[in-house]
């Protein structure tokens, strides 16, 4: 069912929250084993739906089924991070974003699979088995928010949350043919997110369409006293209102970014989309982003360092098992790598240098946004490989070459489907200046597959 129609029917009482939740849970029960999307479903979801019905309050997310990535704390459900380390860890509190979803009438239906501790780009690094791509069975759904993306694609929920430090929402959104949003750093509270890299992480949204992703982001945004890196202003932005009124014709592409895309078919789809925009009167300008080819090499020293620091608490005493003794290969790689480069003899050389290049990339984006209101590029540089296919660590890291720049620059970025190559979905990415999600969403609405021929 179309999301907007469902929302209208729920509000009119033609369809109740508990009916909605019963339907999705029944579908999950039938099909989840094959797809391995959910690690846990919420046994109290139907009860919570009935409570929401009786409350009489109809918030923005009234009666909608929301799936949550397993690295976000939902009280009473396991926050495993898809790892043996935390396999028995039951969250004792709700993350800020969860509190907001519940206050808006949304129903949490379960915890989704992901790459272990968000370390991955394919969905294959979970300690509980890989998630299938529901749109292209046998291929990776992308990662690290593999389950949350696949849950939308499979119709297992209405909306879902993921986290994105280098592309972990946008990458699976592209591979699964759906919409995924990484907000500006500081728009959404990270309180309750088990962090991968605290200077880069953001919680973001997935939906079948731009409207749904905007609706959920509108709900979860906002400053928090528990997260000092959230923006100072209490002002809440509206994203769903005026979604179809884009007041700019100034869009940008970057040849520097396009050079990083290795697949000719993906480039062809992207160029076709750009041609359609030109025919609709948009001015497309090339903007220089000269250091974005170093995004991957800048990102990983920061992530290794910050992840090493973030995982010191998993020493087996308070939270689960000792991480070094219970984790998978990629998690161990990042921990040991982080341990090495933070040693005294390197005096922070790797980290400090990476911070500087991060600054340069951000400055280049800020300069670009003086010329254009949004920048477009493909979401991923190559198509998703088959599950289990052997690829090198560097090739795995390279999946995020086009998404990492937005995290380094702290700007917002979203992916929406632009077409298919041999039935494999391909996403187009829209970047906008910090806290300019409204423009990003409006440009994405224009790009949304099927809208290109609108007058």
């Amino acid at each position: 069912m179309d999301l907007r129609k469902k929302i209208i029917d729920l509000r009119k009482g033609l369809f109740t929250p508990s009916q909605n939740i019963e339907q999705v849970l029944a579908k999950i029960k039938r099909e989840n084993k094959k797809l391995n999307i959910f690690l846990e479903t919420n046994d109290s979801a139907i009860e919570e739906a009935k409570r929401v019905e009786k409350s009489g309050k109809k918030g923005l997310l009234y009666g909608l089924a929301i799936a949550i990535k397993s690295n976000i704390n939902v009280r009473g459900l396991k926050a495993t991070c898809a790892s043996q380390t935390l396999k028995n860890y039951i969250a004792t509190y709700d993350a800020d974003v969860i509190q907001k979803i519940k206050a808006a009438g949304g129903i949490i239906i379960g915890m989704t699979n992901c790459d272990e501790f968000a370390c991955g780009s394919s969905g294959e690094n979970s300690a509980f088995g890989p998630t299938e791509n529901p749109v292209v069975l046998g291929r990776i759904p992308g990662g690290s928010s593999s389950g949350s993306a696949a849950a939308i694609a499979a119709g297992f929920c209405d909306l879902s949350l993921g986290s994105d430090a280098g592309g972990s929402i946008r990458n699976p959104a592209s591979h699964c043919g759906i919409v995924g949003i990484k907000p500006t750093y500081g728009l959404v509270s990270r309180y309750g997110l088990i962090d991968l890299s605290m200077s880069l992480d953001q919680i973001g949204t997935f939906s079948q369409d731009v409207y749904g992703a905007a609706l959920l982001l509108e709900t979860i945004q906002g400053t928090s006293p528990f997260d000092p890196t959230t923006k100072e202003s209490q002002e809440k932005m509206s994203y769903v209102k005026n979604l179809d009124t884009l007041n700019t014709k100034k869009l940008g592409i970057s040849e520097d970014l396009l050079k990083l895309c290795k697949d000719k078919n993906i480039l062809a789809l992207f160029n076709e989309a750009i041609d359609k925009l030109k025919k609709r009167g948009f001015n497309i300008k090339n903007v220089p982003l000269k250091h974005t080819h170093l995004a991957v090499q800048t990102y990983y020293p920061l992530v290794y360092t910050e992840f090493y620091s973030a995982t010191r608490k998993f020493d087996g005493r308070k939270y689960g098992f000792k991480i070094e003794e219970s984790c998978g290969e990629e998690v161990l790689r990042r921990i040991l790598g982080g341990k090495i480069i933070t040693q005294e003899e390197f005096k922070g050389a790797y980290y400090k240098k990476a911070l500087l290049v991060k600054s340069i990339i951000r400055e280049e984006f800020m300069q670009a946004f003086k010329e254009v209101d949004a920048i477009l590029c493909p979401t991923v540089p190559k198509l998703p490989h088959k599950i289990g296919e052997k690829i090198s660590v560097e090739d795995m890291y390279a999946y995020d070459a086009l998404t990492i720049p937005a995290n380094l620059a702290g700007i917002c970025g979203g992916s929406t489907n632009v077409g298919h190559v041999n039935k494999i979905p391909v996403g187009i990415q829209v970047f906008a200046a910090p806290f300019n999600e409204a423009t990003m969403f409006k440009v994405m609405r224009v790009m949304e597959h099927g809208n290109e021929n609108r007058a």
Partner: protein, 74 residues
């Protein structure tokens, strides 16, 4: 799973990445914020210093070189 091999691989990856970002020419190195200033920032308050730690250092171009502006953040 061989932790020693994984560690060696991680170091090799970092060395390659560091070599790549070293192509960015700098005139002088970045100085980190003093530890005392970081400790004094209160976690519960939206302290500007806390926020700025995770954001970026202001840079400016000086010919072919990038220069970090000491004490300035974006």
């Amino acid at each position: 799973m061989d932790p020693k091999k994984i560690e060696e691989q991680a170091k090799a990856i970092m060395d390659n990445f560091f070599a790549a970002i070293s192509e960015v020419k700098l005139k002088r190195e970045v100085k980190a914020e003093p530890r005392e200033a970081v400790r004094e920032a209160k976690a519960s308050a939206p302290d500007p210093l806390f926020r700025k730690i995770f954001f970026t250092i202001a840079v400016k171009k000086d010919g072919d070189f990038f220069v970090a502006e000491k004490g300035k953040w974006t």
